[in-house]
Symmetry: D2
Subunit: 387 residues, 4 copies
């Protein structure tokens, strides 16, 4: 077991930890922990909402969650010798839960929303119990699967220039429809910003500049890619001195898309990382976004039931819109699962939390995109095929 | 080898065949061949452009291809006893090429376009040679892979009502920007319509009503899903008496998205099908789009290099747009591959033709969708990893 | 489709073909067909008993089969430029059946025997129907699986020296118990020898010297390795000028061990091969037996039920005997399958014919070897797990 | 993390632990820990030699290891309600190392031996470092792989009757060649027997009756099956009241056969188990040896290089002897690996420790068995293929 370089104190808000992490992206958040290239180390992470969600049977906590506190991240870690333009090599050596349970939530439309929020506007929650590599839920009986555990969020701090670019383009998007619910994007917000050990004199400025952690961006960040699992090697662009790597939002399992927004099995957990550097690697390989090689121990299933979706919604044709197509595929899958004793909410949760595949089909056959979603059949305790 | 129920005459246009197929969707196209549930049968298919593309080293044929002749489909087949509301069970028992070569094309922006047409506006072609399960190309040296062969296009005829719905919604889409190049959608066109053995008195009417075969729709059709491969079982909605199943556009291999539009390895081929019926299955299972269970013999690779893309294009943020994200992931992959001796065109072709995975990442993390594209490393004759 | 270089005439005995193959190993059997390194070609093969087994419901043909006629091999093929000491690279590009059926037999103890002949002394037969990649049998209902098709037998001719060595050591083995039924080994036998186009003056001498094709030997030959499937590359030692490659005994599918002896799904079929040479490769790599890299399209299953066996038989402990251990594992599996409606003979056939895994467990834990046999659960139409 | 029901004290011999386990099989060894069906629990295990092997660069410890102290087992656990004739269902929920290193040894011929002891008579050791799911060794550079971690040894206590049967048949085997080195089997030995909390009055009798833990037997025990990995469900026969389950000999990784005897990556570790009962399951399913369903997270590789072996050793033909065949395959693989910079000892260790496949080929083709051994190519940092 490698040395623990970052401790999570699960019994109190991150702001009160001895060494707090952060819940915004900003290059001025200081790194208190340094790591040498070639070193393995362990990081502990609180679940993404800072412990707001409980192991209970009602969804009141999901309904009223304060999303300005998310995502609580562990770090930043200073990778010694890293300079802008390098590639930071990160090996996800292993990860696991700190507690024996996790949860999946459907956010209400008024507070967070989700991929199918127009169809599922109310809050809902399922709690999962971990049995070694497997998860089961008292709220979704009849299902058991191995977790494809991964960090939902990992990446390096942006430079000031990159941060300014993020803020500008997201502000422009919001401006196209500022009253929308849920909003089109999440601008910087000072409230509840946790900025590590940043001294109080810089706090307000940084909090007002710092990017929210919700969207994935070109540094990676909250990409919610289920295949960043055990054994994966990632190559990250480095934008600032010492790289300033942070990680959090660990998922015991997740389906492609994490469609309920809070759709993975969210957990507090530990992650073992190894790091290395490729000096000047960004230019050498022309890399401007992370690339990765998934690990060899993903749970593998051989039988999937797949549902197709096309970019037609409520009689309207959308031009090669893969998002609409994936939504339709998801709705088709949910409707089908209700034939087998699942409620629509259970089915929706399941698509977000189980190791579900979301694959791009035809993306060029004008005007319709086709996307498919596949559910492994081995996770069910009964047969869910028509024939 | 099952009985051949449909012959392709590769040396002449489909319109001149003894038993022509069709290149439009319409319920009035008559079925000359009947099949009983429980029966296995073989179907031969011309490649999708009706033989316009040659085994040559220049792309003149791609540049000037007449897309009003596509897709040439084999069928329709009358499945005896099928009625609207049934589910037609189709087993893809096996398939393979009729010739020892196929091709992948990049259409020019003026004639067809493709997923990256703004970046690759000119026509391009690669010819592939088949060596049993493997493909190689003299136009893309250093690459060899096993084909994930599948029909790009398969489905049942729409009812008159469904056809009318298709035409209405696609017309509405075109109306939003009628001058666009490439066009937003493809309306019915009488020119070059082949309608099987339809009697001449109905020809003009049907040709003017019949839907083009390019887009996938709720009946399936041109879904271009690579995983509809050997051994797959598909459940199709039935809209008309006898189901009227058609198939074509066989692909020796394809990457998710078939991103060059003519992006699979297009081939003339044979396909062995088995059919069965679930009476009243659409209502019983609430199925309105095809569902399927992929076969067990897909080429499997254990090492992938994956590229991330987010829904930001040229400094503009698009709201949870998986199409933009997949485009960015594709561009990232193409740029990377040029480090290893491939031209951008070769890399683009490769993403369309090799067994490449396109996976939905986070689709809820406002405002950015994240999509990843993965290339199997075993297909290259050299190492293409940074470390 | 590559050029057919060897035709099988399925309606008559191989001895009467225009170009007969051979059913013995001898360096003097002439090669009538030459192949250049780099070339792809197709070979047709009769099923291994020379067409003695019929698509019927009784096992009389199995009971009385004349094994002196086996295996009928296609070839030899002269690989131009091959010399002793080279490695012959053979790519199994693809293969398939020539007819739509095959069979699996249990030989009687008096005529051939098998791995469990003491428990199953009587002849038995199951006929399999091919549906594309799948096989089903009217004699074993409730089972369907994808074929892991492969040549049971492939290899190069021995030199005179190597042949003499084979004959000497096998003769020595027989001498240890010459009366045994089944015999310990099969000496050369002139009766029914087919020796290609060998001129009559050499016939009798060669037939009396030529090795039987039943056992695998250091040249490969009848190795019955199910993983020599589509897409496999094999590296064979070359012992004589032009290598003299032969192939036959195609199997639609087989379980590890081919335990009923005639235990694969035997079929007449075609196989597409590609060949190349590594000059002096035997010495360069120290290779004295074939090595191979299996292809990427094996049917893959994710759920197996595995049975253990140890080297204890009828209260007697055998010292690290993997053969006894595999026999016990097989018997355990057969007994278990009878809980689910299979007769012992059906279960025995199934272990020989389905894509069953036979794996070496502990082989050092004195005195007991442990070997396990695994059955893919997806091949059954019902659940066969206890829990 | 489930409750720890058994603690290993790695700093002292098991005999001195607060709650010692045992290193012999006997039904009179008392269970101090009870478990209810349905319960998850954690067990800690010392490495199998009781801590005799050190993280050093010489093999003196291997050479002089005292094998009468092995295997140190954790347990027995009383499964409440279990009765003879039941099936005990054991879920291997997860497992991992307690330290960050493990080792693989080659025993000397005089003290333990191994599968190739005639070729490798001297002691040798490699130490492995764990990096999350991966192992590397300073003693075998150029190799890195994911562990297929599993308990080498797990099973229930025999009844007095079964124990007597074991002793009788193993004694009979020894009697056939009592002077052999290594011995043919290991009789009970009082020296160094650890028998849990057995009271001193019974100690001597039990120690003289108790079976050694080295061989696998019909209860399972030291089966050394690498596929009993994370997520596996095993069904064990129950022979005594409360089942008396024990576990130990955890392996970070192992190749099929564990061919160096001490051939896995031996480690001290923890294992999480879940248990359940099928009352009367032995008779209901006719099960007399364990059966199991492997877990879904085995490291999977797509490219293997496989070596064939036949049952001919030093010019002598052995009748269908899979053990000889596997030995020949192993020797072929070792010889080949020395072409790529490995010493024979390193190659031998690697076959025992890496996730290597040992598969039964033809076991019926008289007189030669064929067995193959396959090495995943992805574990090497260079290409080890001839072409």
């Amino acid at each position: 077991m490698p040395r623990v370089l970052f401790k999570a104190e699960l019994d109190k808000p991150m702001a009160e930890w001895d060494l707090p992490g952060h819940n915004r992206w900003h290059p001025d958040i200081p790194a208190e922990v340094g790591v040498n290239p070639g070193e393995d180390f362990r990081v502990e992470c609180q679940e993404w909402t800072d412990g707001q969600i409980l192991n209970t049977d009602d969804a009141h906590d999901i309904e009223t969650v304060d999303l300005t506190r998310a995502h609580v991240l562990s770090g930043p870690f200073a990778i010694k010798g890293a300079e802008p333009g390098d590639l930071l090599v990160v090996d996800i050596l292993d990860l696991g839960p700190l507690l024996s349970w996790g949860y999946t939530g459907i956010f209400s439309k008024e507070n967070g929303g989700g991929f199918l929020t127009d169809y599922f506007p109310k809050a809902y929650k399922a709690v999962w119990d971990f049995h070694g590599i497997y998860a089961t839920s008292r709220h979704i009986p009849g299902v058991k699967f191995a977790g494809l555990s991964h960090p939902g969020l990992i990446g390096c701090a942006p430079s000031h220039e990159l941060l300014a670019k993020w803020n500008a383009r997201e502000k422009a998007l919001i401006a196209t429809n500022p009253e929308r619910v849920p909003p089109l994007a999440l601008p910087p917000i000072e409230e509840n910003a946790v900025l590590g050990t940043l001294s109080s004199e810089h706090r307000s400025r940084v909090a007002r500049e710092a990017a929210r952690t919700i969207p994935p961006r070109e540094h990676g960040g909250n990409v919610d890619i289920k295949n960043l699992s055990r054994g994966t090697r990632i190559f990250f662009p480095v934008y600032v001195q010492d790289a300033l790597l942070s990680v959090g939002d660990l998922h015991f399992s997740q389906g492609d898309g994490e469609i309920t927004f809070c759709g993975a099995i969210e957990m507090a957990g530990w992650i073992d990382l190894g790091v290395d550097l490729i000096k000047g690697g960004m230019a050498k390989y022309g890399i401007t976004s992370p690339i990765f090689k998934p690990g060899p121990v993903e749970p593998r299933y051989s039988e999937y039931l797949m549902f197709e979706g096309i970019s037609v919604e409520k009689e309207t044709n959308y031009y090669l819109d893969a998002t609409v197509a994936y939504r339709q595929a998801s709705l088709n899958a949910i409707r089908y699962l209700t034939n087998f004793g699942f409620t629509p909410e259970q089915a929706y949760i399941l698509l977000g939390a189980a190791p579900v595949e979301g694959r791009i089909g035809g993306i060029v056959d004008i005007p319709n995109a086709c996307v498919s979603i596949g559910i492994p059949l081995e996770i069910f305790d009964k047969k869910i095929l028509p024939l």
